[in-house]
């Protein structure tokens, strides 16, 4: 569990350092890639500290909470390292993978991220 919080810190550092480098390069492809990576990492780690959470972010969190309740239980948040309201794929993936398997978790992540 500690690994995920460490990763979250790393992610924030990497993400913030990615933006200026992309901007300085003024390469539209790199810039787009950087933005996508930043967006996906925010979706994965569920942290919006230095940015505004979009509707998509809220939807992803709601879908994840729905799946957690469905697969594990209403009080699944009690065994995660973060509060249930701010649960993310990063914090819930290890537990879900252990209980439903890696393959099912890949499908579940797809549902969480792509269901429209």
């Amino acid at each position: 569990m500690e690994e995920w919080s460490e990763l979250s810190v790393i992610n924030e550092n990497v993400s913030s350092s990615l933006i200026p480098s992309a901007q300085s390069a003024e390469d539209p492809v790199l810039d787009e890639l950087s933005q996508k990576m930043l967006s996906w990492s925010r979706l994965w780690f569920g942290s919006f500290e230095n940015s505004k959470a979009t509707e998509e972010h809220y939807l992803v969190r709601e879908r994840l909470q729905h799946w957690l309740k469905l697969c594990i239980g209403r009080e699944a948040g009690s065994v995660l390292t973060c509060p249930f309201e701010s649960v993310s794929l990063a914090t819930s993936t290890p537990l879900l993978t252990a209980l439903i398997g890696r393959r099912a978790m890949v499908e579940l992540s797809r549902r969480v991220l792509n269901d429209s």
Partner: protein, 295 residues
């Protein structure tokens, strides 16, 4: 409720409804005729179907985990335990048929070809062997739960319940020791193995109580309900076991004895439902097409 679980309970309900009719006939007439038919034909069929379903569903759950995942091992042992129960149900039913056909016709094919100790072998495979396999599987589940902080400590009631079980186990061990003395012939290996049934059942119950505590902690999702079903199955088996002891001690009247035979159907249904819940949790992301927005 998952589709498979619904089907298992539907079949169980229909089966028990027919069983109730047979039991009422027995109560009114005092004749065992329909009750015997019911347990011999439909009862046997029910055990074969539920244990086969349990084995198939457990194998499906196992295949959902990769070789390096810890729950794969747990489901391997659960599949083996269910296979042991299926083999036991087959052997016991063959023995019942052999006995049913023998009195009327000495030339019965089953009576000639089937060995005498089928029921004993069935008891051993479906009893201690299946229990050991299930205990190994539940131990694995507990270690996974402990790793993720799901496992919760025991309450006073749990300690009280387990203390009671320990007292019963000591009582039973003391009773067994009495029969090991010189006036009695030395027990056979099969008998000694069968004596292990109750301690193993007590171990399973302790594991089940621990898993149940964790399930309560996280709420009753599909995975939690899978383990809750194992708790129900183990407690029902314990109730069935206790009824056998009560019958042996002559504590129950004739109508009550016949009623206790029905306990095993609920245990078999609960055992079959458990992997069905797990499978539903694993398959749901695949079939859950945009349900989120339909709600």
């Amino acid at each position: 409720m998952p589709r498979f679980v619904l089907w298992i309970w539907r079949v169980c309900a229909v089966h028990c409804a027919i069983g109730t009719a047979a039991y009422l006939h027995f109560l009114v007439t005092g004749s065992y005729r329909y009750l015997n038919w019911y347990f011999l034909i439909l009862g046997t069929l029910f055990f074969l179907v539920t244990t086969a379903a349990e084995f198939f569903l457990a194998l499906e759950c196992r295949s959902g985990f990769d070789a390096d995942e810890p729950m794969r091992m747990a489901w391997t042992f659960i599949a083996l335990a269910s296979l042991a129960r299926f083999v036991a149900a087959t052997l016991t039913s063959l023995d019942h048929w052999r006995l049913a056909l023998t009195p009327g016709s000495t030339s019965s094919v089953l009576a000639v070809f089937l060995p005498m100790g089928l029921a004993r072998a069935g008891e051993m495979i479906g009893g201690p062997l299946a229990m050991i396999l299930l205990a190994v599987a539940l131990n694995r589940v507990l270690s996974v739960q402990r790793r993720f902080g799901v496992l919760r400590g025991l309450t006073r009631t749990d300690w009280l319940l387990m203390g009671l079980i320990a007292v019963l186990m000591f009582g039973e061990a003391a009773m067994i020791v009495r029969y090991l003395g010189p006036p009695y012939s030395p027990p056979s290996l099969i008998r000694v193995i069968l004596w292990m049934s109750d301690p193993l059942l007590a171990l399973l119950l302790v594991q089940a109580v621990l898993i149940r505590r964790s399930s309560i902690r996280v709420g009753m999702g599909l995975v939690s309900q899978c383990w809750a079903m194992y708790v129900i199955a183990i407690v029902t088996t314990l109730a069935g076991d206790a009824s056998i002891w009560a019958v042996g001690e002559g504590l129950l009247s004739e109508p009550l004895i016949a009623l206790t035979w029905y306990i095993w159907f609920f245990a078999a249904a609960a055992f079959a439902c458990a992997p069905a819940y797990q499978l539903a949790a694993m398959k749901l992301p695949l079939v859950h097409q945009s349900m989120w927005h339909k709600r």
